[in-house]
Amino acid sequence: MEILLEIIMIPAVLAIIKIVVIVLLFALPLGTFLTLMERKWSAMIQDRVGPNRANIGNFTGHGIMHLAADGLKSIFKEDTMPKGADGFLYLIAPFFGLIAAVATFAIIPIAGPIGDFTFQVTDIEPGLLFIFAITSLSVYGAVLAGTSSNSKFALLGGTRASAQMISYEVFMGLALMGIFMVYGTTRVSGIVDGQNEYWFGSLIPMWGVFTQPLGFVLFFTALVAETKRAPFDAPEGESEIVAGYFLEYSGMRWSAFMLAEYVALVGVASLITTLFFGGYHVPWLHLWESAPQWLVTILQIIKFSVFTLFFCWFQIQLRWTVPKFRFDQTMALGWKKLLPLSLINLFVTAFVILAFA
């Protein structure tokens, strides 16, 4: 038993366990679940019923069986490759996006530390810079898929994806600069703890959304654009370039793209929660000083999950509300409107900090 505990406490093993718990028990199931929920929720928005036909022995579970059906279907479907495709790149491309999406969770804390033990895979010093690095990688999946498919539509999708990534990467960083300046660190745990401060005694928590409202809007926009979801889904552009970069894919590789999209959706939601909504910190919980540690942790996990789920829902709701931009409008918006705005945000933040702090 003690040996087991010792093995667990080896940092590498501990990290693996955390990865398994956070990624396999939190991110991936939630992502998979969202593939169904997107269809159900959109149905409710649109006065429809949504998927409810797949069943095992007449048990449909309001459509939950579609998850199993879809999974089985994509596993057993033929994995096609177009004539003239670049074999190796074509085969590995779907997993770039998935890996990048999953890697986001490496730095996200889902609850406060208990002693030395953190509910975070790793709390590295560069912190959010890691996020920038990873999200830039995620576009390789789209670009490689687009170029290696030997299809004109896919090529257009791939180029759109890369163009869009470049436009949004820049001001995504700039939008977060304000956060770094306000909380004085790039380390995620530092930012989360910084948001546990309060204004006016214990009245308003110093959440990122209150200290950096404009930064929040900009960062959220940038993240949505990075994950290529509506209204920024020109790379997929299902009505004009059919499905964009993953047009030629089928079976499980196609599912990998889908899964990557939904895991990235969860990633966006958890990043927003972490950076702008106090992360795992339950507001005003410090007033209850005698709270037992285990209860606090549970409350923190619940708070984090609820906020994450809310932002997942919000993104889905957004998708079914707005039309989509044309790709050149996406870029014009990024470069001509949002980049100057984020610069202004940066200067104003710097001025306020200099003047008042």
Binding site: M44, I45, D47, R48, V49, V217, L318, W320, T321, V322
Partner: protein, 194 residues
């Protein structure tokens, strides 16, 4: 009435240029629909087809049926009106002398190829004897082989309640193929089975 022209308004001002007001306005609408349907599906207009069926209007032109007189004989006198008026040429009639002298003429063969039929209802209007009707309420015919759609006279004959008709699920085996219909059905003279 004089010609009135209305210039449509192209609203594209400063408020629109902010993007967010319209997006939040839209979100308010979609969220309200979402919440109303989340508990109890209040606005849902979808019909879950096999379990619940749409109300079909009285005038609905569904599958044909051949009506019968009070004495059980077919009303059809094989006058070829429906065959003539049919734009898709899906009706095939062969007339014959009936052994019962009270029946002047009757259809020995009355086939409707439901796959050719365009459900225009012109045959119903053209019939001088009110012998063919399309009021069965059968809105879908889904069988797995082509010959099942060749409805012969005895299948078209109105021998059952049309209301129960719409719920009957036909299997291929339930319907005789056109080739052996004379053997399959004893009453090939168009007289009632009982």
């Amino acid at each position: 009435m004089e010609l009135k022209v209305k210039q449509v308004q192209r609203v594209d001002g400063a408020k629109e240029a902010l993007y967010l007001p319209a997006i939040f306005g839209g979100l308010r609408l979609t969220v309200s629909h979402f919440w109303r349907n989340l508990f109890g599906a209040k606005d849902v207009v979808t019909v879950s087809y096999p379990e619940e069926k749409r109300h079909v209007s009285e005038r609905w032109r569904g599958r044909h049926r051949l009506t019968r007189l009070d004495n059980g004989f077919l009303s059809c006198v094989a006058c070829y009106m429906c065959e003539t008026v049919c734009p898709s040429e899906c009706i095939h009639i062969e007339a014959g002398e009936h052994p019962d002298l009270s029946v002047e003429k009757y259809p020995v063969v009355f086939d409707i190829d439901e796959l050719r039929c365009v459900f225009c209802g012109l045959c119903v209007e053209a019939c001088p004897k009110d012998a063919i009707r399309m009021d069965t309420g059968v809105i879908s015919m889904a069988y797995t082989s082509r010959h099942t759609f060749d409805f012969t006279r005895d299948l078209l004959r109105d021998s059952y309640d049309p209301k129960s008709h719409s719920n009957t699920k036909y299997e291929d085996n339930d319907l005789p193929s056109p080739k052996d219909q004379t053997e399959a059905l004893p009453n090939s003279l168009g007289v009632p089975a009982t």
